[in-house]
Symmetry: C2
Subunit: 339 residues, 2 copies
Amino acid sequence: MITIADVAKRAGVSKMTVSRVINGSGYISQETRARVEQAIDELGYIPNTLARSLRYKRTKTLGLILTDITNPFFTTLARGVEDIASEHGFSVIFCNTDESPEEEERYVHVLTQKQVDGVLLVPTAGTPESIAFLENRSVPFVLLDRRVPDVYVDVVRCDSEQGAYDLVRHLLALGHKRIAALGGSALITSSTDRVAGYRRAMIEAGLERETFRAHFTSFTIEGGYQGAQSALRVDPRPTALFATNNFIAIGAFRAVREAGLIIPDDLSLVSFDDMPPAVGIEPFLTIVEQPAYEMGRRATQVLMQRLDDGGPNRPQDIVLPTRLIIRSSSGPVVQSHEL
Amino acid sequence: MITIADVAKRAGVSKMTVSRVINGSGYISQETRARVEQAIDELGYIPNTLARSLRYKRTKTLGLILTDITNPFFTTLARGVEDIASEHGFSVIFCNTDESPEEEERYVHVLTQKQVDGVLLVPTAGTPESIAFLENRSVPFVLLDRRVPDVYVDVVRCDSEQGAYDLVRHLLALGHKRIAALGGSALITSSTDRVAGYRRAMIEAGLERETFRAHFTSFTIEGGYQGAQSALRVDPRPTALFATNNFIAIGAFRAVREAGLIIPDDLSLVSFDDMPPAVGIEPFLTIVEQPAYEMGRRATQVLMQRLDDGGPNRPQDIVLPTRLIIRSSSGPVVQSHEL
DNA sequence: CTGTTAGCGCTTTCAA
DNA sequence: TTGAAAGCGCTAACAG
């Protein structure tokens, strides 16, 4: 490995002078600068960021902990994070927890030991330990996509409650009364907030509590499949299903199809999150869209600001708007089903 | 920050003893070990990996450079990389080049400066510089998904040529003769290899050179759209389109639909790469599937082996098989179109 | 079994 | 404008 000392020797100057040339700091005569630069070129020297970081106490690296990069929502979010990070000269280490609090804690430890300058965290259900750890070590961090109850830290998320409310209002306007919600984990706020929005809309509509029901499973295709199955077993069966995320929607769709029901004739299906572009018929799922890319960007910007100047004193709770996109998976209630 | 010296002082031992406890190396009496461990707990000490890495000259970090994490194929691949890396105690920094050789080179520099132990690279078209750089600095690396001509290094990829051949043979068996290939960049081997497989199948079938044509654009939805448009302008128009990747297939599908053609009645459409699971009709695209997750895993394993024991002397060229999945987007040629 | 010394590659501090 | 010394937090090598 070629070090600053090698360059210094070749250029006939001290290490310090080389350091000054590399960092463009301090005064240096044109002549020595040129000599140093030539030595750098000839030797193909590149600085060792590790050593620099050890002194500097900044690594220009962020950690991104999410549940599963494979979920298109998080993929897009991750891309937003990397784009902004990269603009600021930061690198991003990514980590998949699969919703496991243990994995989350493990990654938080690893990242902290690696001295990342900040962490972007999509919190799992058992997050208090991780957050406490980061706070104790004063590692700046921003929560993404999900709140954590009773914890006052920076969060960038969508208005899940409102988005769900909008979506369910749309179903109500179509005449639906028996609407089932397919929740993810009952411990994740993006799941519970969406169910809460659903409840608000149902209650506002003056519906009997018996007519609505939330089936909590997990934010997976399998979870959606099972949630939809139990929803469809209810008698009288719901006329509409509200999937609280994209994976749930896919699983629910499969269950509905297996049950031999036609969407939207027999049943309406709506969902949080859009699907990635694909080949096939026109996208037909009525959804509430989240600005995943923008969430990644904003969260990274908030983190950058904290790293720069500490940012505002109070934790920021940035809530991005969702957008209702009505397509053909939701339709009016067919009267025969109402009997 | 709490350092090893703080722990040492509190436990009344030397830094070295603490180091030994942390690393479980050397002999230590039960008693001192207990004292040190207590001090560590009380202080909430965690080791600084940066300092350790500076000595060890190993960072337990890999770089993953791909074109766009947002492409489902690369998303899945990235997950495979992270899973294996994580099993081995490595972290992964991910980087998006968007097919830009400049970005690729920039990232290669950054990662090298950060002293990553190895790099996984999906090479862009202008890769020789990046590869030369990594070789000069003797940073172990493995190419992913794409070959680079005239460069002998570890590669993990699919048999693009054979996969394309299989796919086109399927079309030929259905009676198609005028088949157009929609290539990505003419500078990327996964694109050119697929077109080569297409050519081989066409030539073997004894078709006139005039009947087949490859339209090179880029591995994007827009590229697929434009490629399909120019393919469809050819007179007589092709009876089948072969999209060389998933994004191209999406764009091609849109162009076909805009042209008012029905798949597979008016035109067959087949593609490399599958689409992510979605809501909608049954997956209907006839495709050649690549084991993206497995590619990520294997490449990381190869890299791990290089880091462990140097691995085999000769560079490895690991070619994973593809799988033809026939669905409903390909059908027999309708005679009226053959007139 | 435990401690001391030296040094990884770099930059801060102070002096020249 | 340049350099020498010290030290970031850790561990290898040697000594005791």
